[in-house]
Symmetry: D3
Subunit: 245 residues, 6 copies
Amino acid sequence: MRLLVANANTTEAITHACAEAARAVAAPGTEIVAATPRFGPAVVSTRAENIVAGHAMLELLAEHAGSVDAVLLAVSHDTALDGARQMMPCPVVGMTEAACLTACMLGGRFGLITFGGVEQYRELMARYGLDSRLADIVAVNASPPEAVADPDSVGTKVLAAAKALAAEGANAVVLAGAALAGFDNRLQAAAPVPLLDGMACGVRMAEMLVALRLPKPHAGSYAAPVGRMTGGISPALAALLRGNL
Amino acid sequence: MRLLVANANTTEAITHACAEAARAVAAPGTEIVAATPRFGPAVVSTRAENIVAGHAMLELLAEHAGSVDAVLLAVSHDTALDGARQMMPCPVVGMTEAACLTACMLGGRFGLITFGGVEQYRELMARYGLDSRLADIVAVNASPPEAVADPDSVGTKVLAAAKALAAEGANAVVLAGAALAGFDNRLQAAAPVPLLDGMACGVRMAEMLVALRLPKPHAGSYAAPVGRMTGGISPALAALLRGNL
Amino acid sequence: MRLLVANANTTEAITHACAEAARAVAAPGTEIVAATPRFGPAVVSTRAENIVAGHAMLELLAEHAGSVDAVLLAVSHDTALDGARQMMPCPVVGMTEAACLTACMLGGRFGLITFGGVEQYRELMARYGLDSRLADIVAVNASPPEAVADPDSVGTKVLAAAKALAAEGANAVVLAGAALAGFDNRLQAAAPVPLLDGMACGVRMAEMLVALRLPKPHAGSYAAPVGRMTGGISPALAALLRGNL
Amino acid sequence: MRLLVANANTTEAITHACAEAARAVAAPGTEIVAATPRFGPAVVSTRAENIVAGHAMLELLAEHAGSVDAVLLAVSHDTALDGARQMMPCPVVGMTEAACLTACMLGGRFGLITFGGVEQYRELMARYGLDSRLADIVAVNASPPEAVADPDSVGTKVLAAAKALAAEGANAVVLAGAALAGFDNRLQAAAPVPLLDGMACGVRMAEMLVALRLPKPHAGSYAAPVGRMTGGISPALAALLRGNL
Amino acid sequence: MRLLVANANTTEAITHACAEAARAVAAPGTEIVAATPRFGPAVVSTRAENIVAGHAMLELLAEHAGSVDAVLLAVSHDTALDGARQMMPCPVVGMTEAACLTACMLGGRFGLITFGGVEQYRELMARYGLDSRLADIVAVNASPPEAVADPDSVGTKVLAAAKALAAEGANAVVLAGAALAGFDNRLQAAAPVPLLDGMACGVRMAEMLVALRLPKPHAGSYAAPVGRMTGGISPALAALLRGNL
Amino acid sequence: MRLLVANANTTEAITHACAEAARAVAAPGTEIVAATPRFGPAVVSTRAENIVAGHAMLELLAEHAGSVDAVLLAVSHDTALDGARQMMPCPVVGMTEAACLTACMLGGRFGLITFGGVEQYRELMARYGLDSRLADIVAVNASPPEAVADPDSVGTKVLAAAKALAAEGANAVVLAGAALAGFDNRLQAAAPVPLLDGMACGVRMAEMLVALRLPKPHAGSYAAPVGRMTGGISPALAALLRGNL
C-alpha cells in the first residue's frame, strides 16, 4: 500500500524527518509517500496558522487523491482532519488521534505532553470525545529547537512530565508534536508507562484501516462532496469538491 | 463604529444580502462594511469547504485589520472563528454563536433549525460547550433555493419545526443559515417561542463588545500572533501572522 | 429605554453603587432605575440567604413590571434569574451570566474570581451549562470591607489570581461580586487577559436584548404565569402570578 | 424521632394528604409533624412560584429548627433544598431527590413521570448530577384534579408511561408530584419495574440519616449561617440566619 | 429482617470485622448474616482480583438467595454489584455506593479517601454517574496493616486528607476501604465535615430498601435471569441463572 | 505473532466460528490460537453471566500468558477487559472496543446494532468514554438462532437499523455480537455507511499493538499484579496474580 505522509508545515526538513520516522515503523509492504504543502506556516503553532494550514493540507491531499491508499496527517494538531476524511476517497488518520486511540486500547486514562498549545490540545481531546480518558496535559518548558540542540536536558524534562502524569493516573503518555519524535525510544526504558509517538501509531492505524477495506460512506457528513462549486483554488482541489475524482 | 460583515462564501449576492440584513438591525452609529473572500466555495456547506473557506476568511479579515472596530462572521458555520479571534486586533463574533448565546439569555434550552448539516451544527454546539443548553436540531426538508422561490411553503415547514422544538423544551429557536434570514420576522407572530436570527444577534453582540472596550489578551492561545513565518499566502495575512499590524 | 437595576441586598449603599456603575457604562438612551428589596439579607452570601432574597427580588421586580424595558439583576449570584425571566414581560439579565457569556465571545475558557462562595459559583456555572468553558474559580483571600479599605493590597491579590487563571488557560476573567466592582478598570492594564465586570456586561447585554425586540414565549416553562393563586404575598407579585399585568 | 413533613404549598389539604402518606410508611418510632407555609403559592408549579415558595419554606422550617430531628420537603420540586440544608441543624431530605437516589440503588437508569414541568425536572436532575442515570421524563397528559376525579383513566396513562420508560431502559420509575401519590400502590402489580413514591422514599431516607447521627459540617457552603443580618423577615428565620439557634 | 453481609475477600478476619461493624449500626430488628467466599483473593485490590472476586461473590450470594431479605456487599469496590442485583431476588447494596448516595443527601460535593486504587474508584464514581458530585479522591500514604498497627499516625494522615478535601469543596468525605473502618468515629470530632463509613451507610440503606418493599423488575437488564445455561459453576449459582430459585 | 482468540462462552461452536472469522482477516504472519473457557455461561448475555464469565476468561488467559503475543476477547461485552489488561504480559483487545475505536477513525459519530442488551452496551460505551461519539444503539428484533436460520430476513432488519442509524447521524455502524458476524460482508453493499465487525477490527488492532512493541506499564492500576494471594482458583491464575509469570 501507498501511504501519504502529509506534512502541514511548509518546512521541508520536517517532511523529511516525518517520512523517515514513518518508514522506520511501517510494515514491509507499506510505501511512504511524503509531501509538503505549497503554502502556509513554516511551523503550525497558533490557531490562525492551523486554519491557513487546513486549506494547504486539503490542496496537498487533492494532488494525491486516487494515487494513495491512505493518508497520515503528519502534524500534531491533526490539521483539517474532518475535511480531509470527507473529501478523500481513502482512509485519513491524524497522528495525535491515532496515538490517543492507541492509548485507549492500553486501558484507563492517558496523559499528553507538548511543548505548548495546551488549550488547543485540550479542545482537540474534547472534539474527539476523549475528555474522560485524558488524565492531564503537561506543557514541557522547552522549545523545539532546544529539543534538537540539547535532547538530554529536554529529555529529562519530558521524563519528569511523564512520571508526573503517571502519578496523576495516566496509564500511557502521548508525545504530541513533531519535536518530540524519537523521545519515546530515548526515554521509554526509564518511563513508568508506555510513551506513544503519533507517527508510529498513525502509520500502523493507517495500515490497519486499509487492511479492513472499509467503503466510503454514501450518506451523511462524511460522504464525498458532489457538485460543490468553488473559485480561486487549485484545480485538483476544485475538481475533488465538484466530485470529479 | 465600523463593523466588518465578512461573508465566507464567494457569492457576492450573499454578501449583499448579509450587509442589508446587518444594516437593518444595526444601531445608528454602526457603519456596515461588507466583504467577500477572494477564493473558496460559492456556498460553504460541507466539511472540506468549511476548511478552505477558513483560510479565505482569514485572508479577507487581514485586509481589514486595523481599519474596522469589530468583525461579524456572516456564515452560519462561524467559519474560522477561533483563528480570527486570535489574529485580529478587534472583537470577532460568529453569527450562530451570537444567536445561541442570546438564546441562553432567554433562559432554559434552545433549538436550532437548519436546511442541513445537522452533525456539523451539533459539533459546533459541543465546541461552544452548549450541548446541555441545546434541546435539539431539526433539519427542515427544503433547500435554500426553495426558500427563495416558495417562502410560504418553506415557512410552513420552518414554523412546524419551531413548534416541534418548543414542544421538546426549547425556549427559543435559532435559525441557522443565511437561507433562513428573514424567516424570523415572517414567522415570529405564529411561533410559540422567540426565533433568533444570527445576523441580528451578531450585529448587536459586536456592538456590545465594542462598547465594552475590552483589551486584546497578551497571553494564552488568543494572544496575537508574533513572529509566525509563512509562505505563499497574501501579504496582509502574512504580515499579521508575523505580528506587523 | 428604562433599565431596572435590581439589587438583591437590602443595603441601600450597594444599590447606589450599582446604579452608579450602571450609569457609567450605559448607552446614551438608557435610563437606569435602581431599586432595593423591601426585605431580606443585608448582603446575600450563603445558600439560605440567596433563597430568601429570591422572593424579595421577585416582589421588587413585580413593582416595576410594565414600567421598565429590561431588568439587570445586580447581584453576583444572579438571584431568582429563572423565575424573574418567567414572570416579567421584559428581558431579564443576570450580571454574572452576562459576564460569562461575554467571556465566551472572547473565545476559549474563562476564569472567575470571588471573595468566597466557590461552590455556589461552580454550581451556577453548571446550571448555565458553562462547565466546559470554565477554567477555574479562585477565591481571593480578602473580604468586601478590605476591598474598600485597602484596594491596593486587595488589588494585588486579585491581579495575582487573574494571572494564575490565565496560566491555567483562562482567556478572560470574570470578577464576580459587587465588592470587586471597579477592580477591572484598576487592574486591566497589568492583567494578561480581559477582566470582565458583571455590571458593565449586564447593562450592555440588557440593551442588546431590548434592541432585538424579541417576544415573550407563549409556551413552555418561561411563558408568563397565568391563574397561579397565592396568599400572603405582595399585591403586585400576586397579580403578576395570576396573570394580571 | 420527630420528622417535619414540610409542604411548600399553602393548601392545607395537601399538607394533610402528605402527612397521612408519611405516617403510612414511617417506622414505628417516627412521629410525623406536618406543617404548611404561612404565605406563597396555593400549588407550586411554575419557576416564579417555586422561588416564592422557597422563602416560605425556609420561614416554615425556621419555626421548627431545634424541635425536630429531620425534615422532609413534601414538594416534588424539592423547593429550597440546599438553603434548608445549610440553615437547619438537622438532616433535610427532598422527596424527589430521595426517590431518585433510591432508584439509583436499584441499578441502571430510572425514568420520571410528571403531570408537567418536564424542563424543571430535567434541570433538577442535572443539579443532582443524575443526568446519566435518567432514562427519560414523561409528562402524562392529565391534570392533578383529573387524577383525583378519575384515577382509573389517569392510572391507565401513568402505567403506559411507566411501560414506555421501561422500554427505553428505565429500571425503575419515579412518580414526581403530589398528585401522583398512591399511584405506585395502585399500579405496581401491572408495572414492569418498581414505581417509586417520593413520600415513601423520603420518610425512609430521613429516618436513615437520623440513624447515622452525622454531624453538621463546620466548614464550607453547608455550614450553618453565622452573623448574617437581614430585615423584614420572620423573627425565627432572622435568628437562625444570625446563628442564634 | 436478615441482612447478608457478603465479604468479597477470602480472609475470614475481614468478614468478622465487617459483621461486627454491621451489628454495631444495625436497627434492632436486623439480623446480620456474614459470609466469606469459597475462593478468590485474600484481599481484593487490583483490577484482575476484582473480576475473580466477582464470580466468588455471585457464588456466595447464590447460597443465600431466598433466605435473606437483603445483601450488603462488604467490599469497597462494590464487587459484582450489577450482576448481584440482577440475579438476587432481594435488594443488594454496595457499601461505597451507599456512602456516596448518603453523601449526596448532605448536599453539594463529596470527597473520597482510600489507601490506594484511586483510578478504580474514579471509574466507579463515573459508573454511578456521580462524577459531578465528586470533589476529589485522595490516596492516603499508608497501608491497611499500618492502619491497624499505628492508628494514631494513620489517623493524622486521614484527618489531613479530610481537611484538604473540605477545602476543595467537599461537604462530606467517604472513607473507602475496610481498613478505614472505625476512623469515622475516631476522627469525626476533629473533622470539618461529616465522615461517612460504607458499612454504616450500607446497613441503613439496605434496611431502608427492605422497608420500601419494592418488587423485583420483570423487564429490562435487572430482571431475574431465566433459562441461562452454564457449566462448571456451583449448583446454587447455576440454578439461580437457570431461574430456579 | 500468535494471537489468542479467547471466547467467553463455553460453547465450543462459537469458539470455532470466531477462530475462523479471525483467520479470515488476519495478516499472513498472524497465527490464531482459539480457546474456550473451562466453566461459565454457554452464551454470555445477562449482567450476572458476564461477571461469572469474567473469572472464566481470566483463568483461560492465564493458561496462555507468556505463550501468545496478544489476546483478542472474542465476546461483544469485552468481558474482563480491564483485568485481563492488567494481568497479562501482552496486549489485550476487546472486539467491541476495537470496532468502536475503528469507527472513531472514520470521523463523526457511530451507531451500534445488537440483538439485545442495549443498556449494557450503553454502559460499556460510557465506560470507554465514547458517549459523545455514539449516535444511538438499536436492538434488532431477532434472536441469534434466527440469524442463523433465516439470515435474509434478519439481514433485512439489520440493514434497516443501519439505515436508521445513518439517518440519525451515524457515520459508521458497529455490529455487536457474535451472532451478527458476517452480516457486515452480506449487507455492506446496500448500507449507506461502513459496517464494522468486531472480530475483524479486533484482529487488526491486536496486530497493530504488537507491531508497536509497547512495554507493559510499571506503575499504576495496569501494572502487573505482584504478590496478590488467592485461594481456590486455578494454579496458573494464582501464579499470575502472585507475579510468577
